[in-house]
């Protein structure tokens, strides 16, 4: 049992048993207690009750160092690598072979190479970590754990950042590890992946274990029912799009980042009211830079961006927002909320100046409280009251607060950047449904997402971004296969002539 400092019982009477040489899935919504359980196993958190048996012996895991010494390795969702060091240096970091007081560089490289070969990981150990792609970084993380003698390997949502091809490669390697007698704990929301590689699955809901099952004898529907306690509709009932006037026009947009690297390359597209434009793509291909320009956060660009028929150059963020634009940011903790302020204070930062909520000087506390309660109920934010600090909520509930705030202004343009990343199925569904409702009501929605299932099922038109350009655009998103999309995402395929990004009827610029 583990109780967090915000009084949340994250794990309650959870039991988990692992066999040697299996891939064991840990499945559950966000806030179900998966990460907490793993943190206890890896020594980051200490349990309030219960015991851990390792090879039949009761042990206490006091710290991550202790866990590593006992043969438990963990690959975090966010990589823990030093970008400026080489792959080999990262692998041996902290347990480096030494020659006198110096690190034996040659032996380090050799040992790193040996371990990579032993497990069939084809990587260049002399490359610098900042220069290698995400998929390879993950391999480095796995090697790091193996080098330290890990027998049990915990992977926290390893496929969240990978393309379909990279995921496939990872699975091959995980299977090899299994054959070598390693045990892998695989944490994921993605049911089809679990079906593909896991032997057994422990399903968690609300801090409790719903039992351990043989994956082979179980359908994805059954899994999702155990996970959320109700049938989740993975397909959305979608009415055909009723397109209205153009609300967002981007022409010849070029953006360089602060280091002068070209991030968005002569991009043009339109979005009309009543449709959802999905933008898929591997992270770092210019999506964030595009969003920054469209929302006014970055003024340093070439080209034209028109929001609701107004050129936004030299317009402040407030002026752009006042043209009823809502923005769900990519990184919710960094720019989407203030964790140290309470829920109410986080619900009005974009609309406290509206007449209902304030006079000339003072805020109208009573009205704000009334609305806050209403929105908390409407978006099913799990909290004790609106006075609770946002930082104390789970990821999915923080996202609900942000979405409630952004959607409550009755926007006509919504820019949703990774709106459901890392949050549970229930909250994701709520947010996706709301996006569709806004689209049906005539709102222009731009959905940037790495979740292919999401962009494919929600978008009316779908663009794939690769190196700052649209590699392809599909006017009928539902007919696109994931494999094909993956090829566009990785730049294997690229359409020379783009059709359907711009509406001819509004070539008035």
């Amino acid at each position: 049992m583990k109780i967090y400092s915000n009084g949340v019982v994250a794990n309650e009477d959870v039991s988990l048993d692992l066999k040697k040489g299996e891939i064991h899935a840990l499945l559950g919504e966000n806030g179900a207690g998966k990460s907490t359980l793993m943190k206890v196993l890896f020594g980051i958190e200490s349990p309030d009750q219960g015991k851990i048996l390792l090879k039949g012996q009761e042990t206490a895991i006091k710290s991550p160092q202790d866990a590593i010494a006992k043969g438990i390795g963990m690959v975090h969702q966010h990589f823990m690598l030093v970008p400026s060091l080489s792959v080999a240096e990262n692998i041996i970091l902290g347990v480096a072979p030494v020659k006198g007081i110096f690190i034996d560089k040659k032996r380090a490289v050799q040992e790193a190479r040996d371990i990579a070969e032993k497990y069939n990981f084809h990587i260049d150990v002399t490359a610098r970590v900042e220069e290698i792609p995400v998929g390879v970084k993950q391999k480095v993380e796995i090697l790091k754990a193996l080098y330290r003698g890990a027998e049990i390997l915990i992977l926290d949502e390893p496929t969240a950042v990978l393309t379909p091809q990279e995921t496939g490669e990872l699975f091959v390697q995980l299977k090899k590890l299994k054959e070598n007698g390693h045990t892998v704990i695989f944490i994921s929301h993605k049911l089809d992946e679990i079906k593909e590689i896991c032997d057994r699955a422990t399903i968690m809901r609300n801090g409790r274990s719903m039992g351990t099952y043989q994956v082979a004898g179980m359908s994805t529907d059954e899994m999702s029912r155990l996970m959320v306690g109700r049938e989740v509709v993975l397909k959305f009932e979608k009415k055909p799009a009723e397109r209205r006037q153009t609300l967002m026009q981007v022409r010849d947009l070029t953006v360089h980042n602060s280091q002068g690297v070209l991030k968005v390359d002569h991009l043009s597209f339109d979005v009309k009211g009543g449709e959802i434009l999905g933008i898929a793509g591997v992270e770092g291909n210019g999506q964030s830079e595009l969003v920054e320009v469209m929302t006014g956060l970055n003024q340093n660009y070439q080209g034209t961006v028109r929001v609701a028929n107004t050129d936004i150059r030299k317009k402040s963020i407030k002026e752009i927002r006042n043209r009823s634009l809502a923005h769900i940011p990519e990184d919710r903790m960094k720019s989407g909320c203030a964790g140290t302020l309470n829920i109410l204070e986080n619900l009005f930062s974009n609309q406290y100046e509206r007449k209902e909520f304030s006079g000339r000087m003072f805020l109208k506390s009573r009205e704000m409280q009334k609305k806050a309660k209403e929105w908390i109920a409407q978006y099913r934010v799990k909290c004790s009251s609106y006075k609770q600090k946002v930082g104390m909520l789970s990821g999915g509930n923080i996202q609900k607060v942000i979405v409630a705030r952004e959607f409550s202004t009755n926007p006509s343009i919504i820019i949703a950047n990774q709106p459901t990343r890392g949050i549970d199925v229930g909250a994701s569904e709520l947010i996706r449904r709301r996006l569709l409702e806004f689209r049906d009501a005539g709102c222009a929605v731009i959905l940037i997402s790495a979740d292919l299932n999401e962009v494919l099922s929600l978008s009316d038109r779908l663009a794939v971004m690769y190196k700052g350009q649209f590699a392809g655009i599909f006017t009928d998103a539902e007919q696109v296969a994931e494999d094909l999309l993956g090829q566009y995402m990785l730049g294997i395929k690229k359409d020379e002539k783009l059709e359907g990004a711009i509406y001819e009827s509004c070539e008035t610029l």
């Binding site: 956060l297 402040s316 963020i317 203030a338 003072f362 805020l363």
Partner: protein
């Protein structure tokens, strides 16, 4: 929420008790008459009407600078020029009182307003430097305190110095002075201004639109920008207001019965004490009078003790330091807090199951 607040109070009380305990132990080591010293320290302020009055007198300037710092720190503007603003406020109040002859009712008001504006100008300099050049306000405000100190000394010596005294100004005219409230003490009407400032500071930060903007910037600047809040405005307003209040405090202090002339040629330290007040008050101006009262009590006690016994006044610095250390130490009593929370969570679980 209630639970968290209750815990904060418990933590504060423990911090104070431990700090006092450590001070007592030190007193036992250094003093020939430790019991007497401790009695003087703890009960001294209650011994006479004058002693008790001393507590309230020394509380007044702390409320001003404390509130000013609360406002600047709430916006995460670590401007330390409150010290200089207080000093310049005193100077300008003195200059105005001596150079502008006005009737009794009007004179203090004018002097105080000018003092406050002078304070605001001083703290605005680091703010403008930050907006224009991205210079850290922490460094520039720290340095500007020296400018304020020597500038004040220069003005004093050059323009308002009474040759009879050598290093103090001419006597402040009665028309400009703040009247004493009780005979035989120096408690003055400034205490009402101080309390009013604390309440207004609270209303400003927690009830107004601009206060809301300020706190959002203070907690997460990136989020404030994303929401469309003007960061530049907040940087400027918070620091202007902080300096305004500190300057006002300097003016009030100088026009009070405590001072007859402007004679501040060394730093008084109220700007630094303000950081202690701000920490104890958890950045909420409403709590600054209580924090100021506590600090003033402690210091008055220490002063009485140092006069009556062989223990020096500086012992109180140790007490202060230990309190601050424990208040800001996040991990202090965290184990107890966790147990408290775990117990409540388990009870809640049982209730849930029962129902």
């Amino acid at each position: 929420m209630n639970r968290a607040k209750r815990f904060e109070v418990i933590r504060m009380v423990f911090a104070i008790l431990i700090a006092l305990l450590i001070s007592f132990i030190i007193i036992f080591f250094v003093s020939e008459e430790p019991v007497n010293a401790i009695v003087q320290l703890v009960t001294g302020p209650f011994k006479s009407k004058r002693n008790l009055a001393n507590v309230f007198e020394s509380m007044i300037p702390l409320v001003f600078t404390g509130t000013g710092v609360c406002i600047m720190f709430s916006a995460n503007q670590i401007n330390l020029a409150g010290e200089g603003a207080f000093h310049v406020g005193g100077l300008i109040a003195a200059v105005a009182a001596l150079k502008i002859a006005l009737p009794a009712g009007v004179s203090p008001v004018v002097c105080l307003l000018l003092a406050a504006v002078a304070g605001a100008i001083l703290t605005a300099i680091p703010a403008i430097l930050k907006i224009r050049t991205e210079a850290s306000e922490l460094v520039s405000s720290l340095m500007i305190n020296y400018v304020a100190l020597w500038f004040s000394t220069f003005i004093l010596m050059q323009f308002i110095c009474d040759p009879a005294t050598g290093s103090a100004s001419y006597s402040i005219p009665d028309a400009a002075s703040l009247p004493s409230l009780m005979r035989g003490t120096r408690i003055h009407s400034g205490i009402f201004i101080a309390l009013l400032v604390a309440v207004l500071g609270y209303l400003f930060l927690y009830k107004t639109k601009i206060g809301y903007q300020l706190r959002i910037v203070g907690e997460n600047e990136e989020y404030a920008r994303y929401s469309g809040i003007s960061i530049v405005k907040v940087i400027l307003v918070s620091q202007l207001l902080g300096g305004f209040i500190a300057g006002l405090g300097g003016g009030v202090e100088l026009l009070s019965p405590i001072y007859d002339r402007f004679s501040w040629t060394a730093s008084l330290g109220y700007g630094w004490d303000a950081i202690i007040i701000c920490t104890l008050a958890k950045k909420n101006p409403l709590y600054t009078p209580f924090a100021a009262l506590f600090l003033a009590y402690l210091r008055t006690g220490a002063s009485i003790m140092s006069r009556a016994t062989d223990v020096s006044f500086e012992i109180v610095q140790i007490t202060q330091a230990v309190i601050i250390l424990f208040v800001v130490a996040e991990q202090f009593l965290s184990r107890y807090k966790h147990k408290m929370i775990a117990r409540e969570a388990k009870e809640a679980l049982k209730e849930e199951e029962a129902s």
